[in-house]
């Protein structure tokens, strides 16, 4: 080949050629080649749809987590105002975990966005090449003798095949990335399922398994900072403690927080 001796490009090219051998037999008839190309285009579309699905899943989790952050923050405030520092700390720990997950999700959503864009571009290019092939095959059929046609077919099919292999490569990278992201999405789901972001007021007294795990997951210094900040905002958390039962609803009345018409001691209610 023209001058390049570099290993990098030759290795990649060798691998693409290998894929081509698998994907496309240039000796096959023109119409059959075309038919196969169109089929592969469908696969690319499916690949794009998979990326979109993965992205949507992450986005839904983002929405849920954002709601949890707001809710837990409000509840921490309420707990602190009523002098229940332990409960406030638990809520802030949960909020901290939710925020960390949220940041991770954010990065991944934009990465998937990028993959989706790349695949869409690739799909358009492949579509254009296939369309050219369709035109070209009619010309070849009409103008060339059998022997000449064979060469032309081979050239055209290899050219389209290369484009297809390239799209395949892009798809593979997208799939790899999506797989990695599934792991994170699953992790968030597990935290959700374990009740990590649940209503803090539904919690009994004392710490349970979730809380112990959360302590290890969340950044204690960040929680301490949050707590101090909140205390300052509320204005001397050691002030008159609110009547017991307002927040934690100790045994007996597990106040349904969402609907609870309790007057929030500090500031605006959740929603």
């Amino acid at each position: 080949m023209a001058g390049l001796t570099g290993r990098m490009s030759t290795v990649v090219k060798a691998k693409v050629s290998k894929l081509l051998d698998r994907a496309e037999d240039p000796a096959e008839t023109l119409d059959y080649s075309y038919q196969k190309q169109v089929e592969q285009l469908q696969n690319v579309k499916k690949g794009i749809a998979d990326v979109v699905t993965a992205k949507k899943r992450l986005q839904m989790q983002e929405t849920t987590l954002k709601q949890s952050v707001v809710k837990l923050d409000t509840q921490a405030r309420q707990a602190l105002s009523s002098g229940q520092e332990d409960l406030a700390r638990t809520a802030l720990e949960r909020k901290n975990v939710a925020q960390t997950e949220l940041q991770g999700l954010d990065t991944q959503v934009s990465e998937l966005e990028e993959q989706q864009q790349k695949l869409t571009d690739s799909e358009q290019k492949l579509r254009a090449k296939i369309e050219s092939f369709r035109t070209k095959k009619e010309v070849i059929k009409a103008q060339y003798s059998a022997a000449e046609a064979q060469v032309k077919i081979s050239e055209a099919a290899t050219g389209v095949g290369e484009q297809m292999a390239d799209v395949g490569l892009a798809m593979q990278r997208a799939v790899d990335k999506t797989e990695n992201m599934k792991a994170r999405a699953d992790a968030v789901s597990e935290l959700e399922a374990a009740g990590t972001f649940d209503d803090i007021t539904a919690l009994g007294s004392g710490e349970d398994d979730i809380d112990r795990q959360l302590k290890s997951l969340s950044s204690q210094s960040a929680v301490d900072d949050d707590l101090a900040k909140m205390r300052a905002e509320i204005g001397a958390g050691d002030g008159a403690p609110a009547p017991a039962g307002e927040i934690a609803a100790p045994s007996g009345e597990p106040a349904p927080a969402e609907a609870a018409p309790q007057a929030p001691p500090a500031e605006g209610g959740q929603s």
Binding site: A2, G3, S9, V11, V12, S122, S132, G159, D166, R173
Partner: protein, 92 residues
């Protein structure tokens, strides 16, 4: 000479550009072989930029086979390393 940047486009370069292209590629390979991650991204970007700036983009409706295929622009240092040990971007 047709050069493809994987995941992007094909470019038509003059045969006389091959020597410079080769130099740039060798520079990247030297970094990878030397385990020098610093500078890898820049060196690789320089190689791809050379192709993009010197070459003329092949139209989407033109059917051409590439003589050189370069890995995608988001190639990581680790991937570049694997590229040379057989476990490349495209599985064998």
């Amino acid at each position: 000479m047709i050069v493809r940047i994987s995941g992007e486009d094909q470019y038509r370069l003059a045969d006389s550009d091959a020597a410079r292209l080769d130099e740039l590629e060798q520079a990247v390979i030297a970094l990878v072989n030397g385990g020098q991650e610093d500078g890898f991204a820049d060196a690789y970007a320089t190689l791809l930029d050379y192709v993009r700036s010197q070459g003329e983009r092949v139209g989407d409706d033109e059917i051409e086979t590439s003589e050189v295929i370069l890995p995608p622009s988001d190639l990581t240092f680790a991937e570049a390393g694997r590229e040379f040990t057989g476990e490349g971007l495209i599985p064998d």
